[in-house]
């Protein structure tokens, strides 16, 4: 046994700190919470406002544009149909709106941060350990501070998902910016490019394939985290899984799991396809 006299807890201090943070920055947190909630609500309304068959047609058309392959075009539509068939349509849309908001947040902060890392070795050295920590920590852990600061519901889910999903896009942006060939940059500078022009005309566009790969990764990670966020009452497909697990209802669990996989496949294929489409005009 570990000797009793060495027992020491930091839990009360952590709690005090979070309480203090809540008191001191309460209004700011509230404002953030409210704007996030409205954003999610609006997106949810739009997603549900579009009839299910329009979604299926849209996805099918997009798949055709991207693949020009009959099987790859028909399959996403059929898969999407099964979600509705299982009665999970609106729940899936709820999950999708959470994914969209957290991905938007991740890109909004992750891409500029990644560019800063690509430009400055200092910023890179400062942020890399942070990203490492964000990626190695079990995803549940983010739920705790997020929940403490933003209560239960969709907002802590977004915050936790953001922390979990932002590293890939940030890292791949950094990588992409750094990989731009030195001789191309040199030529641009020789023709009188300012640092800003160099970024806008040369470095960013050449880093774009890498950045888009990061967007794809971030989206997939957001989807997996959003499901876990059912633990802080975020709702959506994760809640179905959670309920099924609690009630040992294998059948219901399978249907919810199926719906998650379908969403993942469709989002992945379509975003992957757009990345390839973007790169191909040269070929």
């Amino acid at each position: 046994m570990f000797p009793q006299q060495f027992n020491y807890h930091v839990a009360p201090y952590v709690k005090d700190f979070v309480d203090w943070l809540n008191r001191a920055c309460g209004p700011a947190f509230d404002a953030f919470s409210n704007s996030m909630r409205t954003l999610i609500l609006n997106i949810d309304t739009v997603l549900l406002g579009v009839p299910w068959w329009v979604w299926i047609i849209l996805v099918t058309l997009l798949a055709w544009r991207l693949t020009h392959n009959v099987i790859k075009t028909v399959l996403p539509g059929i898969l999407l149909f099964t979600i509705g068939m299982f009665g999970l349509w609106s729940i899936a849309m709820e999950t999708l709106s959470l994914v969209i908001v957290s991905v938007l947040l991740s890109l909004l902060l992750g891409i500029p941060a990644g560019i800063a890392m690509g430009v400055s070795d200092r910023v890179n050295a400062a942020l890399t350990p942070l990203l490492d920590a964000m990626q190695t920590m079990p995803s549940f852990v983010y739920l705790i501070p997020a929940m403490m600061l933003f209560d239960l519901g969709k907002v802590p889910a977004i915050v936790a998902t953001f922390i979990y999903a932002v590293p890939p896009v940030q890292r791949l942006t950094n990588l992409g910016i750094r990989q731009v060939s030195a001789s191309i940059q040199e030529a641009a500078v020789a023709f009188g490019a300012t640092p800003w022009q160099l970024m806008r005309e040369v470095r960013f566009p050449l880093a774009l394939p890498s950045i888009l790969a990061g967007v794809n990764q971030t989206t997939m990670m957001a989807l997996s985290m959003v499901v876990i966020c059912a633990m802080v009452a975020a709702g959506g497909l994760g809640e179905e899984v959670l309920l099924a697990v609690n009630r040992i209802d294998v059948g219901r669990g399978f249907e919810a799991g199926w719906a998650i996989v379908v969403l993942a496949i469709i989002i992945d294929r379509l975003s992957q396809g757009s990345v390839n489409k973007w790169e191909s005009p040269r070929n």
Binding site: S183, I184, E186, A187, G192
Partner: protein
């Protein structure tokens, strides 16, 4: 000011590459007290002057500092000491803004590895410098097309660089430099990556363009043949130092030291071999080789 008779003047230029933990004391080098450990002198007290319309070739093996020197001229690499004047303007004293303006209007460079933008078409690549200057789209395209026509790539304007052969890519590089309308052209081993046949063709092309445009050029190469064909004057560089400067003919006939001699030896042998016995007396007359003015003959074979 007498200085204004020269387009480019370089005076006592030094560039020393310094390893992380050593500091550079220029005075030590200037007083000639020997090199410091951990510091590499890439350009050592180099001076030269170019009149307008002159083609000046800097020749040396790799690592001789010639690429560093040409980069110093527009401060892609910051020189540590010395002065560079273009049309009387002191490039070394320019602030960032002036320097950007100088790079946009006074000078244009052609690179060994082309440095083309892979995500831009030939047309967009050639007009890139104008875009940086803020020239309007229509005007940009018009001027770019003129430059592309000069290098004979009009059929390829909509293509991306990776569709083009090395020689064609370098034509794009040359067009991109021409469109700037700068008086001073810097060419850093532009044809070194090309196979011999194409290289010869590109040299002809450059001579043809030069006959027409009369630019002032600094041309860096490691190929003596190229130096002889293109240069009005040339310098041989070794470990950062100009070991000899003069007309190509001077350098071939009177090499200053062993290094230059080794460089030109081959050339002399080749020229001796090609002469028949009765022409041997003309060996000293290397003009057909050095010529460079045979551009007219090659003019038609550009494409």
């Amino acid at each position: 000011m007498e200085s204004s008779t020269y387009l480019l003047e370089v005076e006592n230029l030094w560039k020393v590459f310094v390893e992380k933990d050593s500091t550079l004391h220029m005075e030590d080098y200037l007083s000639g007290s020997g090199d410091v450990n951990g510091q590499v002198v890439a350009v050592r007290d180099v001076s030269f002057k170019l009149k307008e319309g002159e083609v000046y070739v800097i020749m040396g093996l790799s690592g001789s500092g010639k690429s560093t020197l040409i980069r110093c001229l527009l401060r892609l690499i910051e020189p540590d000491y010395g002065q560079i004047r273009v049309k009387g303007q002191d490039v070394t004293a320019m602030g960032l803004k002036e320097l950007t303006e100088f790079r946009r209007t006074q000078v244009a460079m052609v690179f060994q590895h082309y440095g083309l933008l892979p995500h831009r078409t030939v047309l967009e690549n050639v007009s890139f410098g104008l875009k940086l200057q803020g020239v309007k789209h229509k005007e940009r395209e018009k001027r770019a097309l003129q430059a592309i026509e000069k290098v004979g790539l009009l059929k390829w304007t909509k293509h991306y660089p990776e569709h083009l052969s090395g020689g064609m890519q370098q034509r794009v590089g040359i067009a991109r430099a021409l469109v700037q309308d700068a008086d001073l052209l810097l060419l850093d081993e532009p044809f070194s990556g090309l196979d011999p046949l194409i290289r010869g063709e590109m040299q002809d092309e450059l001579l043809r363009l030069q006959a027409e445009l009369k630019k002032t050029m600094v041309f860096v190469t490691h190929d003596l043949n190229e130096a002889l064909r293109l240069g009005d004057r040339m310098a041989v560089m070794k470990q950062g130092l100009f070991v000899q400067e003069g007309t190509p003919r001077d350098i071939v006939m009177n090499p200053a030291d062993e290094y230059v001699k080794r460089f030109v030896q081959n050339e002399r042998q080749v020229s001796l071999l090609t002469e028949t016995a009765e022409e041997k007396k003309k060996v000293s007359n290397l003009t057909p080789l050095i010529g460079g003015k045979q551009g007219k003959k090659a003019a038609g074979s550009g494409r």
